[in-house]
Subunit: 333 residues, 2 copies
């Protein structure tokens, strides 16, 4: 079944008001969830909303808490998220980063003590809409073994990079695991093998069997040792910039995952190219990618974010695909 | 055979003086090459030096060119490398980035029109030695197929992140290909399979056969579609920040690879933690990693850069392992 963006947003807003959000914050938070489903990232949109409400009701997320700037070093600021709703906190942090970049050419906000930001790409699109290059990342709880270990001790720390472009922003939104636990479960339920090796089984053999990876708790970092190292560095840099919690201090129970650390960077492209020319340069790069000879069984090459724009348009026109059970569960909240 | 650091550096300096470097620049450039071999990155140390000299003699590298600041936006500066020696240019760029970070808390230098920086990790170690968080990346010529293509149209754009730490800096130095062409060739010559799948053969099958990947020209980006996206974003962001050449405009002949674009970022940790505490936090993260249960056949988990420090100590004490043929070729220069 498909449901329109407006109907989903209004339903989520109703629930958030009921949970104690102010009207303005309920509107923004509901919009962010609905936009995430609109863009096809169903796992962190509507499908994630019931868990979000559970975490509010058990007190992990404080609906009234707003982030505050605790230290300012000119172009770089440290903010405390005070365990408020993670997507609102992150949107406010990126908005402040953009303000700093408008003033200084670039800006950075390091945010500690926040909650899961849901879809990280949201804040990349936000930067691009403002004409900014945006870079941001978050840490997570321990959900990946570091390279050389069988035990999850690092996070899959999603990393987002975005570039503004008139014909369609270029937005990369990637967790550092090859497949999320959600994706592994989805493949398993459909009885499918992964498209590429996604982790190790309990005996330490590389495998494309999603169930074996889940049982062993050994999903793969992207690029094996490389993604493991990147996760460690993003966690360390975030903890230093924000004076925030590193991954290993974040509770491992998904319902208790709180006190996260995030970093937001923005660069003001209009300052860098006062006479324009940005789109000509980016369009040239995109055209070069689009002209790539496709691999076997592939229609063509897409730039990062291009499919999101296609999905967004389709879901806007036809309604957003919704799991009837999840929609019923949300309506019952 | 092993040769001491000092003997290698002095020999390289002799040659650079002969090629027209000033004494001070010959000293720095030779030191950077020798330190790269000292740290065990042989491919971009002594072993790369003959190609570096070839590129000087054919005019691709201008030994006399020094980088200049062409635009300053406060905390962010654009520099022109003027096709000077890539490692000297990059060291100067990171030194200026560090200066900006001392003044503003953070700093950024975007460098265009430069040459191959040899080992990217060099500039991460440089930032860490100065007490800075350092992040930098470079683009390259087209050496990887973007995801969905069989044709190399993106770069393996090495990305470096570094964190200062009294007990040993944490430094990640990774190209975005799973294996470099140099590594593929080395595995093939030894008749070995890759440790993990490293690319596609000519029929588009994922393989650990290095020769098949070389023949097809289809090495794998880290994380498949993810590393491909990361390469595209790093290239775009670099080209925008530096107003520099994107990957597809860089000549594909390795001996003509010039006019690269690089980005350097630094954050001043001493400003962020005026009362100390950085080492306690980082040591806690490192101890948590070190306590990870090892995987099958692994002795223990290492943090990024840890093995480099071990190699550096060993090579300092015992001399640097050197290929006799390459050493003879260098001495004949």
């Amino acid at each position: 079944m498909r449901i329109s963006f407006d109907v989903i947003r209004d339903e989520l807003r109703r629930i958030l008001l009921q949970e104690g959000f102010t009207p303005a914050r309920a509107e923004r938070c509901a919009t962010l969830f609905a936009e995430t489903s609109l863009d096809g990232v169903y796992s962190h949109g509507l499908n994630r909303f019931p868990r979000f409400v559970t975490m509010i009701r058990q007190g992990t997320i404080d609906v009234a808490a707003e982030p505050v700037c605790v230290e300012a070093f000119g172009v770089l600021e440290r903010w405390d998220g005070r365990r408020g709703p993670g997507n609102l906190n992150a949107e406010i942090a990126m908005a402040r980063t953009i303000e700093l970049a408008r003033t200084h050419g670039m800006g950075c906000v390091a945010l500690r003590n926040t909650n899961h930001w849901m879809r990280g790409g949201t804040y990349g699109w936000q930067a691009a809409r403002a004409g900014m290059i945006g870079i941001c990342w978050t840490n997570t709880n321990q959900n990946l073994p570091p390279w050389g270990s069988r035990e999850p001790r690092i996070g899959n720390n999603p990393l987002i990079m975005a570039v503004p472009r008139a014909a369609g922003a270029v937005v990369l939104d990637m967790a550092l695991s090859q497949f999320s636990y959600g994706a592994l479960a989805s493949y398993r339920r459909q009885g499918r093998r992964l498209s590429v090796p996604g982790g190790y089984d309990a005996e330490g053999r590389l495998t494309d069997d999603p169930g074996a990876i889940e049982e062993a708790g050994r999903p793969l970092p992207i690029g094996y040792w490389k993604g493991s190292g990147l996760s460690i560095l993003l966690d360390m840099i975030g903890a230093l910039l924000a004076a925030g919690q590193p991954t290993h201090r974040i509770p491992n129970d998904p319902l208790q995952e709180a006190g996260l650390t995030q970093v937001f960077l923005a660069f003001d492209v209009s300052r860098l190219f006062p006479d324009g020319g940005v789109d000509a340069l980016l369009d040239e790069i995109v055209a070069h990618l689009h002209a790539s000879a496709p691999a076997e069984g592939v229609d063509r090459v897409y730039y990062p974010g291009e499919r999101t724009l296609l999905t967004r348009r389709e879901n806007r026109e036809r309604g957003i695909p919704v799991d009837p059970d999840i929609w019923a569960a949300v309506q019952a909240l």
